[in-house]
């Protein structure tokens, strides 16, 4: 796969909560979790880092060699692509600052956990982040 990937801008809603990356694919209703190095990797990816930047960031955070992290990142990033959480592309600008203290201290290869138990429940009413730029009247403000 290409090393140039970005978070799927239309179908994915995600946030790192309590050291865990929580990710929803709004197109399928499947949701995902990544902890530890996976949470850090996702945070770096979401901040606009490329694969090398992610590997460096994770290596720095956990004090392990970057080449080991890079090897571990391959299957993780492939999983993200399989589930269409990332798409080919390059970030618009320089990467944003990331709080690397989001996860615990022990390093383990990043792992994407997949959950399908809510997919039917999320079919109708998920938020749609790609539509944020559509202006609409807000009844609270009339604007």
């Amino acid at each position: 796969m290409s090393d140039d990937i970005v978070v799927n801008p239309t179908d994915v809603s995600a946030k790192v909560l309590d050291g865990e990356a929580v990710i929803i694919n709004l197109s399928t209703g499947v949701y995902f979790s990544a902890s530890g190095a996976g949470a850090v990797a996702w945070a770096l990816l979401q901040a606009g880092h490329d694969r090398a930047g992610i590997a460096d960031g994770v290596a720095e955070r956990f004090g392990v060699p970057a080449d080991q992290v890079d090897a571990d990142l391959g299957p993780f990033l492939a999983d993200l692509q399989t589930h269409e959480l990332v798409v080919p592309g390059r970030p618009d600008g320089p990467p944003a600052e990331v709080d690397l203290e989001v996860a615990g201290s022990a390093y383990a290869a990043p792992l994407l956990e997949v959950y399908t138990d809510m997919s039917d429940l999320l079919a109708l009413d998920p938020p749609m982040p790609g539509l944020a730029d559509i202006p609409w009247r807000d009844p609270d403000t009339g604007s």
Binding site: Y31, D125, I134
Partner: protein, 224 residues
Amino acid sequence: MPAFDAGEHLSGALGCIVGQTHPPTEVLVVDDGSTDDTVAIARAWGEPVRVIEQPTAGPAATRNRGAAEAAGELLAFLDPDDRWLPHKLEVQVAHLAGDPAAGGCVSRVRQVWTDAFDREAAHYADHARMAIEGVPGYATTSLLVRRETWAEVGPLDPERWYSDATEWFARARDGGVRIDLLDDVLVLHRLHGQNLTRRRPADSAAEFLDLVHGRLQAKRAGDG
């Protein structure tokens, strides 16, 4: 029916309720502090429409109020900007009558785009979940639920403005309550500029992420 500044859509919604092939015994409009003519329009309908007014408390609290005030054995909800197809209640009432073990049922829902949202329709034309004829309607607007099931599962979480129904259906499922999905498309979900789930996408996304995060934590607690 929970209503907030719903004057534009209210009469159409009430019309499709009273025009059901299996009409409801009562129709409650709970006005959540509207500033428009919602209350006047609802009152003008007369029987069987009854109007309840309350200070703005949010959509989930408003639906809960309606459920609490309703007298019937079966509860249904309709948001003013959605529409029931004429046989919605008839099909669902028959389903529950034929299957006493089912606590409730939802139907498939057809998304209807308004002209103003042509751009949105084009954007999602190939979207996997939008392309199918009817989307699984796990929303209050397609639900018919037994009163005792509603009491067993508990009310909607009033703190949730966007994900109240999703959380309720998940809670029901976790509690072993069966809410059947009927294959029929019985509800039209109209998408326009004031849909709550798209009015504030950031707030909405945060709520759904919080909901999923809570379920992940609950799974781990259960596994542990």
